[in-house]
Structures are given as structure tokens and as C-alpha cells.
Symmetry: none
Subunit: 201 residues, 4 copies
DNA sequence: AATGAATGAGGATTCATTCAT
DNA sequence: GATGAATGAATCCTCATTCAT
């Protein structure tokens, strides 16, 4: 029962199915057929709308990054205090939207995919650059010349906590992840500023 | 012209070729044929010795971890001072053996592979546990109750720095990576200990 | 915004697009979608009007033959002298309408298609029969018993010159083609006329 | 029961099967699977040895041309008289090896394929060039300045007779084809030379 | 010890065709 | 009259794996 205006719906469904499938399988070795089945359509339709498996991956990745970016912007909206902005960034990095097993798995796989896809690489760099910008904006007033180092460390720490979740032993523990990064930031800022103010855990 | 005692040589060559191929291709989507060609043998021989592609992967992974473990042990041998032991661990983590593009790529891919291979998962956990043990051993005298947190943060940070190198933008910068982790440790230990002693960059 | 009386326009457009597409692609491996796009309509419409890809091909072929037939009739109209009728037939065979790369390509492909389509085969035979009739009509007074042989040779020569153009090396050279056939006819008729009487094959 | 040294056998079998299949189907729309089945092997093996469908086509075409070239050389060996050389060329063009329905169909399809394959185009040009050279060699002493025209006409005539056989109405009639070309040559040479010597049919 | 030969299974992709609107 | 939506069927191609030698 074909209807008009299905395209955006199908696209969204296929993108969601792609992320879910990558998450479920745990690698990029997913079949277009399975993704399509998950989205309730034929594999031919996936090709009809996206042209190729690779383009579908790219669309999925863009969706993940777009979602993340939107969440960050929302979380930062109206927050002026640098320390609170930092907290917001960290919190969103491990939010329920992003820090789910399937998204984590997708994320990890996108890093792998970046090794062979310029566009994926570009997207990941874009994400990193944005994160860095956001962190720097908040860190500069707090850490002065050490801002850059702290920003890089924080970003690496976040990625490291993601990759470690990929082992899936315990369910991803967002709380603990946030805590670790927060602790790190406390220490780092304490060491940078004359009058460290420790935030309560 | 088959010779006697070739087995260990072939095995080693195939394992090395596996790592190299994964590194070159940037994903686990490598073919046994290509690995075998790289090792200068037929793909049938790879199966003869390892039984399956998966077993070959596992062997490669074990080799990486074994090498790393050996390097760590060597670096720690004779070093008693906790802070120096910490430095040694960090240094080895970014040593020339491990922090090469191809090994980084292999590493990243093993994390992916772990999603579907219990044995790979077990191996990665083993690596993590050993690293944790080593870190704790050195951190306990320095950071007391905070040792665990710092150890986890350090481990995540190392993994995060690895994954970030996977984007291959600049060649892997081991020096900078070591510096970041060292800085982190300085701050963390400064915050933990009564009398922080900053190590010179 | 569908309009009334569109059918003949659409049909013509689709038929023209079919020939053009076959010519452009150089084989029958054209898609209905591409043909339809070229005609500015949806592929569904092509099916609506023609029922199937094959029927569309047939329609295109009929169009080519009809055009050719009409051109021949026009060229022969009012011409009474046998030698001039011969010339007219040859001229039309390499006229600007027919001897264009795309039509040549289509022609060649119709010969291929005839291998599997009775209807196409029938059409090509019809074309051949008509050409033969026309040639015979003009040749009988000029060559008597040799008319049949000369007619067959002329027809084969024309087809041969077509197929050779399919290699597209130089742009089709109609002038030269006409010249070759004319020369042939001159020789053949010279050998047939007044004195020499050829032995029957 | 795999044996050693199968490669050349398989290659030959696959090439023969390709020609046969194209001949049977009457177009290039044959599947590798069917070709392979005809050769008694799996489609995977066809890819193993030839790399792709297109390469297999090319190999088949080369085989056809090579066979034809060898036959021509054999027929010309030891023949010195120009008129007899001409006859030999014509005879071989319609020999039992070449003028079979399946080879005719393959031939026709190679002309089509040439529209999209540079290599096929190159091969066909090569065939044309060789034929032209052979014809010229024999015609120059007989027709002087008209040799070129006669050679081109003869070549086109041969191709035209081939394409006409593609309609398959009657089984290919080699005798008649040879006769037509011979008659043509007689006329043309009669018109060129002062003292035509008619060869007996 | 080592490999060439061979294949089954599987996956991306294409496309003619159908149908509800 | 016209089309977007949708798919089943096909086809090329790849690859891990097996086996006889």
C-alpha cells in the first residue's frame, strides 16, 4: 500500500535500522538485506533511497553526529558559567541517547570505517573539532594556557571510556564515566587555578 | 620444496602478515588470500596451520598482547620507584613497537572483533586487567584510596589516545601522547597527595 | 497536470528516446528508467503505454523502418529511369536521417535483437524484402537475369557498410559509402549490359 | 578430483562455452553461470581464471580472431597467384569454422560490444586492418589504383553477408556467399583490367 | 610441507514491473 | 493521465574453506 511522502519516513527508518543493526551485529559486516528487513522494507528500497551501502553508512553516521550536536547545543543553551558548561558537555557525552550499547558500537565502527572512507574521516574530524571548540570555550577562562592540554585530554578520555564500554561486560555505566571525567577535570583545574574550587561529586 | 621445521616460521610469518594486512586495509575485512600472499604462502597453508580465519585473527591478537606484555615486563624490571614504574608503563604504551599505525589499526579492530568473539573479548579483558594491576601496584602508594579511579582514568585515556590516532591525520605522535598522560598523572597525584611534586615536562 | 490527447505525443517521445538511448549506450542494455527520463516521463508511464520493454523496442524498430520506408517512397516518387531509381535507393540508404551514429547503433542492435524476437525478425525480413523488391524493380531492365544477384549483393553491401560504421572510428562517411555502392553498381551493370552475358551462378 | 595443469584446459573450455552460449542465446546477455555450466565448472571458477565477465568476453573474441587469422594464414600458405589468393581469403571468410550460426552470432555481438569496450574495438579494427592488408596485397597487381576501393567493398560485402545470416532464416549458405563475393570480384576486376580473365565459379 | 583446483554460500546491486493514489 | 513507492528476481562477484596431489 504505497503512499505519498514516504521518502523521509523510509530514510529515517533505514538510518535507524542501520545503527541498530551495526549495534546488534557489532561490526560493519552487516548486510543491506538485514538492515532493510529491520526497517520493514526490501533491500532494493534501501538502494533506491541511498544508492549504496556506503552511502547508507554515511547517512547513519551523519545522523548520530547530528543528534549529538543538537543535544550538546540544547544542553549548553542558556548556560553561561564555564564550569557548568563543561559539566554539560560531559553529561551529554554520556547521555542516554548516545551512551547506549548500540550507539557505542556504531561509534566504534565508524572509527574503523574512517580508515577507508574520506567522508567518514571528515565527519569524525568535524565532531572532534566541535568538541574541542566547545571545551576550549569553557576551559579558557578556567585554565588559561593549560586549556588546550586539558581539552585534548578530556576528549581522549571520553573516547577512551567509549571504547572500553565496547567490551560490554557490564552495561555501560554512564554515571561512573561522568564521574571519572569530572574528577579528572577537578584535578586538572585545581592544578591550573590559584584557588581551586572543588565541585562536589 | 618443503623443509622441515618450517611450521613456527610460517606461523610467525602469517601472524605478522595478518597484523600488517589489517593495518594496511584498516579493517577486519581482509582476505585470507591477501594475508597469505603477504606471507608468501598459499591461503590453503594458512588454513592448514590455523584452521580458520578467526583462529588466525586470534593468534594475531595474542601476538600483539604478548609482545606488549613482554615489553611492559622488560620496562618494569628493576624499577622500584612507584612514580617511575608509572612512567614506564605509560612509555611502553606508546612505544615504537605498539604505537605504529598498523598496530593501532589492528588494536582498534580487535575491539570491534571482541563484539563477536568471546575469545577476543577475553583477551582484551586480560590486557585491561593486567594494565590495571600494574597501574594499581604503582598508584596505591602514591594515591591511596584514589588509586583505583586514577588507574581507570589512565587506562581509558591511553585507549582514547589510541583511537584518536586511528584517524591518521598526523602521524601518531607518541611524545605528545606520553606528555598528556604524564600531565594527567601529575595533576591527579598532586590532588591526591599532601605534597605534590611536579615532574618536569 | 495530465492533459488530454497526450498519448500520441508521449508515445512518440518514448520511441525517440528509445532510439536515442540505444544509440547513446550502444547496446540494448538500456533501462526503461533511462529511456523514460530521456523522454521526460516516469518509467511507469512507459509501461502504461507500451506494456513492456520489449514492446517498446519493437515500437522503436517499427518507427525506424517506417521512417526509412517513407523516405524511400518519397525519393522514388516520380522517378522513372531505372538507373536513377537505383541511385535514389542507395542515396536514401545513407541519408542523413538513417546514417547517423545513433540510428546505426540502433540498427545493429535490432539485428541482435532479432535473434530472440520473432517480431523483430519479421520486421527485418520485411525491410529486406522491400529493399529487394525495390532493387529488383530497377535492376531487371538493366541487368536481366543477373538482377537478383546484383540486388542481393547491393543489399549485403549496404548492411556491411552500416556495420562497419558501428566501430565509430571516423564519423560515418555517407558520401564515401554511396560512392562505393555506386561504383559497385557501375561495374556490375557494365558487366551485365550490352555484350557480356554472364553465366548463371 | 582436482588435478594439476588444469588451467589451460579450463580456460579453453570456458572460452568455447562463451562462444557457444552467446551463439545459443543470440546476445551478450548471457550469464557467467550458464557459461560455466556449459563448461562443466562453477561460475566461481570462471571468475577465478578470467577475473570478470568482460575479460571472458574479450578472451572469447580473441580466440575467434586468432582462429580466423590462423586459418587465413594456412590458406594463403604457398599460394602465389593473386587471384587465387583472393579466392582463398574469400573462401576462408565463409569457411566451416567461421561461418557457423554460433560464430556468426558471436561476431555480430562483438560488433555491438565494441561500442562500449575499447579493447573489443581495438580487436575488431585489428581484424579489419589485417583483412584489408591481405586483400590489398592480392588486389594491387590486379586492379592497380582501384585496389583500395575494391578491397573496401569486398570487406564490407563480407561483413554484410555475415550480418544477413544473423537472421537465420535459412541455415547459413556459405556457397552462395562465396559466389556473391566472387562474382563481385570478377566484375570489379573486369572493369579494372584491360584483359579480364574470368575465373570459373 | 605445500599448493592448485574447485566450489557453495552469500552479498551488493540493478531493473522490469506492479500498484495505489 | 501520470507517478512515487515498492519489490522479486536475477546476476556479478568474492571468499572462506576443502581436497587431491
Amino acid at each position: 500500500m504505497p503512499k505519498l511522502g514516504m521518502e523521509p519516513l523510509r530514510r529515517r527508518a533505514l538510518v535507524a535500522a542501520t545503527i541498530a543493526e551495526i549495534g546488534a551485529v557489532g561490526s560493519l559486516e552487516v548486510t543491506v538485506s538485514n538492515i532493510a528487513r529491520r526497517a520493514g522494507v526490501s533491500s532494493a528500497l534501501a538502494h533506491h533511497y541511498f544508492g549504496s551501502k556506503d552511502k547508507l553508512f554515511l547517512a547513519a553516521m551523519r545522523a548520530v553526529l547530528t543528534d549529538f550536536g543538537a543535544e550538546v547545543r540544547a544542553a549548553l543553551r542558556g548556560v553561561r558559567d564555564p564550569r557548568q558548561r563543561l559539566s554539560a558537555i560531559v553529561r551529554v557525552s554520556f547521555s542516554e541517547t548516545s551512551f547506549r550499547p548500540e550507539v557505542i558500537a556504531a561509534w566504534l565502527n565508524f572509527y574503523v570505517h574512517a580508515q577507508n572512507s574520506d567522508e567518514t574521516q571528515r565527519l569524525l574530524r568535524l565532531y572532534q573539532a566541535r568538541l574541542h571548540t566547545n571545551l576550549m570555550h569553557a576551559l579558557r577562562p578556567l585554565a588559561g594556557p593549560r586549556a588546550d592540554t586539558i581539552a585534548r585530554t578530556t576528549a581522549a578520555l571520553i573516547d577512551g571510556l567509549y571504547i572500553r564500554q565496547a567490551l560490554r561486560d557490564p552495561a555501560p555505566d554512564a554515571r561512573r564515566a561522568v564521574q571519572l571525567v569530572t574528577d579528572y577535570l577537578d584535578d586538572a583545574l585545581a592544578a591550573s587555578a590559584p584557588l581551586p574550587e572543588r565541585t562536589p561529586a
